[in-house]
Symmetry: C2
Subunit: 364 residues, 2 copies
């Protein structure tokens, strides 16, 4: 597991120069494709210059959805009952959820992982069982999970990526989640990881009204108060140690497992396509554990959840889409993957001014 | 041709209620897919409830690129020589431009139309020749085209859509363009159509620097001054008459032809996927000629061109993407078409809470 924390992605100055040269000579004014230009560059550098793969000949993208339950969801923090977590996992397996539809419409492979749902699914085709426990403990009263489970979740996340890469040579891996109450968990984790007041990070989550929002805010403040002394002791620890501590206190099996998966994906030079608020929380955690992971991250969209802006700002991330999505499941990642394909195809296939015999700009 | 100006898209209240019911019962919190929800609704209403088509079994989308030259481009308004228009058409035919790459990467059919390029292409496979003339006249000195050519361009545009629909049953038609100097032409057309000072609508176009921008602004002000008296006489005319007059004075064969094509596409209940600034100018012109066309329009992206915001605001349009693109060619439309596919697939294939046996929201 230490390798997940310590890997480095070697920088290739010659490759970078070659890519910049290629981009600068495409038949368009410099930068005319806006955000697609740095995206193409990032992907090409990440894949170490191998941008020859064509989506028509092989599966190029997958999305892994991690599902889990939260002890804190026994408190009234969500508009939905906790049973919706396993019911939605069933919906994923039956192919009827939004993420199934989007994955199918863009030929993206979908993996569903039980990271710790409070339900016995038995042996199920299409479900990858990596259950750490039947939900975390309630962090309003106790740490969400012992440190050993943090390590287990990170390790199992990395193994999910290994499993995927044994089966198919994808270049881009999107990360989604399902877990009733996990917007609250993500808010709490980000508040402690980024030293922000919890209020600035609490939003409506999925379908919470005004009155429910007040109740939710009070509960989250109580969680922060409960663990305040413990956070304070840790404040001067190294980032990695502090991040592992936050993961243990606040938890979220799906979030921690996703961080492990993101670290492995980055280590394997796969693009990590970060979805919405929860997925960005996992991205922040992954970057605290190993900042090298940031190099591999592409941010799919800016969600309607207010804490998302803060988390994106912390990572200096400019998301590709801003469609007011607030669903999770990896839906934003699925919608963004066609843009990754376009960016790579542009770098790979677009003519240069020379090759197409098009006159360049008249310089003044 | 009168039919292009007078068609109405019948409104079906029962269908609308059915679509709203279906959307409200999908397995997600109401509105959780943000801008994709109204998009799915618009597409379903436009296609009169037929949202069964699957991209895998048939070509569902095409992009038509209209190319033409402008008399005004003999003045120093562009960073590129006028010959780039025909050279880029050659690049389209060879498959090396950005729009070729994006169309291929998303299985979108691409049609290239010579609306009035100042070049003799001869008979060319893959080029649809609808040349009105070898470029417009220079509107700094004279009207860009006689009224008869405005009608001819609108008519030929409509015929291009007929041609496309004879060949393939697409649902979505994107509109792109190529024409050195056409950002200036679009600025001039929008200034007069929307009664805005020209300065607010003039941007850098494609690759213009500070010094060139000043020169460009002075030239465009001179064009406005030249035709001021004529615009004033027309100010009290009906919108349609005024729009035809503006098209004649300022011109743009590719822009006027695109408007005709947009009108026919809307008439045939195809989604009109509007690209960037120039394409939005054609959309404004089309809506002045027949406001019903607006119903069919989907706006692909907000371009970096400053006048684009004004034109989008006028049409009350919320674009899907905001990626800083400023290339034209229909590139933004090509990047947005996967989102249309997703929106339609969501409405068509996503489970309802009932069908998936997922608990709905707990109401307070």
């Amino acid at each position: 597991m230490q390798e997940l924390f310590d890997f480095k992605l070697p920088f290739d100055a010659a490759l970078e120069a070659r890519i910049d040269h290629e981009l600068a000579h495409k038949t368009m004014p410099l930068g005319a494709l806006g955000q697609l230009m740095p995206l193409a560059r990032q992907l090409a550098l990440l894949h170490a210059g191998d941008y020859s793969a064509r989506p028509s000949t092989q599966a190029d993208a997958a999305i892994i959805v991690f599902a889990a339950d939260h002890g804190l969801a026994l408190e009234p923090i969500s508009a939905y009952p906790r049973s919706v977590t396993w019911q939605m996992v069933e919906n994923f397996l039956a192919g009827g959820a939004a993420i199934n539809v989007f994955a199918r419409s863009h030929a993206i492979e979908l993996l569903v992982v039980d990271a710790g749902v409070d339900h016995d699914f038995g042996e199920r085709a299409g479900l990858i069982s990596r259950k750490i426990a039947f939900g975390t403990a309630n962090c309003l009263h106790t740490p969400a999970m012992p440190p050993s489970q943090v390590h287990q979740a990170l390790h199992e996340g990395a193994r999910c990526v290994d499993l995927l890469l044994e089966r198919t040579a994808v270049q881009w891996i999107g990360f989604g989640e399902m877990g009733i109450g996990n917007t609250s968990i993500a808010s709490l984790m980000l508040a402690t990881l980024l030293h922000q007041p919890i209020d600035t990070l609490v939003g409506r989550g999925t379908g919470v009204n005004d009155q429910q929002l007040e109740v939710k805010q009070a509960i989250l403040q109580a969680v922060i108060a409960k663990h305040a002394a413990s956070f304070e002791i840790q404040a001067s620890s190294p980032a990695r140690e502090r991040a592992l501590h936050v993961a243990s206190l606040i938890g979220g099996f799906e979030i921690v497992m996703m961080s492990g998966a993101m670290l492995r994906a980055a280590q394997m030079r796969k693009a990590v396509v970060v979805d919405g608020f929860i997925s960005t929380c996992a991205a922040v955690l992954a970057c605290e554990l190993n900042p090298q992971a940031r190099v591999a991250m592409v941010f799919a969209h800016r969600s309607a959840e207010q804490g998302h802006r803060i988390a994106l700002g912390h990572l200096m991330a400019t998301p590709l889409l801003d469609l007011g999505l607030r669903l999770g499941e990896g839906t934003g990642a699925a919608l963004a993957i066609p843009l990754l394909r376009s960016a790579q195809a542009m770098l790979r296939d677009m003519a240069s001014f020379e090759s197409a015999a098009v006159s360049g700009a008249l310089l003044p």
